[in-house]
Amino acid sequence: MILTVNNLHVRSKTKELVKDVHFSVRPGEWFALVGQSGSGKTLLSQAIGQMLGPNLKADGEIIYQDRNLLDLSGKEMKKLRGKNISYIFQDYQGSFTPFMTIKQHFKEYQKAHGIKSSKEREEQALTALESVGLEAGIYKRYPFQLSGGQLQRVSIALALLLKPDILISDEATTALDSVSSRLILELLSNLQKETNCAVLFITHDWRHVKRYADHIAVMKEGEIVEKGGRHRVLDHPRHPYTKQLINSAPTLSQTGLLGVNNDAVRS
């Protein structure tokens, strides 16, 4: 198990937003966390990285490398964040600082984690960009000059740059059009298999779950109502809520609409 969550609660001053959550993620596994908005899945992901807002508090255990992440100091957590545990977010434009070029983003990130030589940084960055299918010209541009798909690719490049053990993807494709989403997810799937990086995939889109997930957990109102392997949950769902979700998801065949070969389309 690369990450184990036990008895996790997230509370605000007045409400309990995440209630008694347990689950584990295996190395290299694609773990899908499904639920509607407000189910608490984002809060859960934030708690893992000690990124909760100021009014929220988390209790319980989040075990990574034999340590409870919730007990770590800010400094210790900071070493892990970005290196062993990385994130990609839904708001692709918002994931980047508007007045910094992509190069500056890389540089800052690499420097923060100890990569000192600028030559090394540049090589690493350009290789990463290539691996996500972006050309080298992107390196010098500003975020506002790139499209949503391109930005998410850069996000993935950054997130996987230092070979983390787990990548937390918080609705990373929700804001993209369906073609771009497919491409991004294919890319992510390939890369994570290559690097053996686990993915905690937060989504409300059942299609993605069906396609990529190894393990599934369903969240409703702060609780996990069902979890298990993909075949078990998809083919024999037990909780009524799970059944509801599966039934209301639009059914598309494996090759997509009208049998178009999506791989031929580039973003």
């Binding site: 964040r81 990385s86 923060a112 000059q145």
Partner: protein, 314 residues
């Protein structure tokens, strides 16, 4: 960028031309006889004939247009006339005192920037704590205090009672301190609140969270991301308040008997020394123009989107 400078230059020139013409009119039509003023300096009793002769010599009897024409010609040839009172060349007099004023402006700016960045940042980082309350009180009182009154208090406290600073003049670096604090504090009030709200806004942005998720140290996030992002509105206001800096300097100089261009001009106004006044207008126009242009340019630099407009891709 050159385009902006060019445009501004034209605007300022037109305005200066307008104002010099208007001021020219006012001077000739206003109460108070410049000839008498000139003569009075020597405290001689003069006869009517001498007055008339001087009036003729100085061209005051010529039709207005002629006078204005002569004056413009002089100005174009960079002859800015002589002070009525001291008879020294106007530009020499003005330029001699200008450095003092510039020093004072710089000193005040330093004080203002230090106070507002410190207080503004602290109150953003520790919002709703006692630091925040203090800075709120500070900024609201600071905006209500007349700078000269604050100066009087400072003089009374630090110069008269405690004797740490001189009460007036410009002897050394020390004499710059009290006037700079006076003006700097008076201006800082607005900025403290502006920086605070701008920072709070920036800190709430998504990209701050994204940077945090990459493990970037907090200090770097604060300075390179949040603070930098809060700059544009601050710079805009900064540009506008440069005006009150230039204006405020005048009052502070008079208060501290600080020999700068502000004090000079007030004295000139009282003595109706018109050539000096007109020279002052011209210099002020230049200074204002330079400052506004600098502000414009730095605004564009801070906002790469504006700079790169037209080269958008993707």
């Amino acid at each position: 960028m050159l385009k902006i400078i060019y445009r501004r230059l034209v605007e300022v020139l037109i305005f200066v031309l307008l104002i010099t013409f208007v001021s020219f009119l006012f001077i000739r039509l206003a109460p108070g006889d410049p000839v008498l003023t000139i003569l009075n300096v020597d405290e001689l009793t003069v006869s009517q004939d001498q007055v008339e002769k001087l009036r003729e010599d100085m061209g005051f009897n010529d039709p207005l247009i002629v006078q204005y024409g002569k004056w413009i010609m002089d100005y174009i040839q960079l002859d800015f006339g002589h002070s009525y009172i001291t008879n020294q060349p106007v530009m020499d007099v003005l330029l001699a005192v200008l450095p003092a004023t510039l020093e004072l402006m710089l000193g005040s700016l330093v004080v203002m920037v230090v106070i507002s960045i410190t207080l503004g940042s602290l109150s953003a980082l520790y919002r709703n704590t006692w630091i925040d309350q203090i800075s709120r009180v500070f900024s609201i009182i600071g905006a209500s205090i007349p700078s000269f009154w604050l100066g009087l208090i400072l003089i009374d406290l630090f110069a008269v009672r405690l004797n740490w600073f001189p009460t007036m003049g410009r002897d050394s670096f020390i004499s710059l301190i009290l006037p700079s604090i006076t003006l700097g504090v008076a201006m800082a009030g607005v900025y403290v609140r502006l920086i605070r709200s701008s920072l709070l806004d920036s800190l709430g942005q998504e990209f701050i969270r994204a940077a945090r998720s990459r493990g970037i140290p907090e200090s770097r996030i604060f300075i390179a991301h949040a603070f930098r992002h809060s700059l544009p509105p601050v710079i805009t206001v900064f540009g506008v308040s440069m005006g009150s800096l230039i204006g405020g300097v005048v009052v502070v100089e008079v208060l501290f008997a600080y020999p700068g261009i502000g004090k000079l001009i007030v004295d000139s106004i009282r003595q109706r020394d018109y050539p000096l006044i007109q020279g002052y207008i011209l210099i002020m126009a230049c200074i204002v123009f330079i400052i506004n242009t600098i502000v414009d340019i730095s605004y564009r630099y801070v906002h790469p989107e504006i700079r790169l407009k037209g080269r958008r891709n993707g």
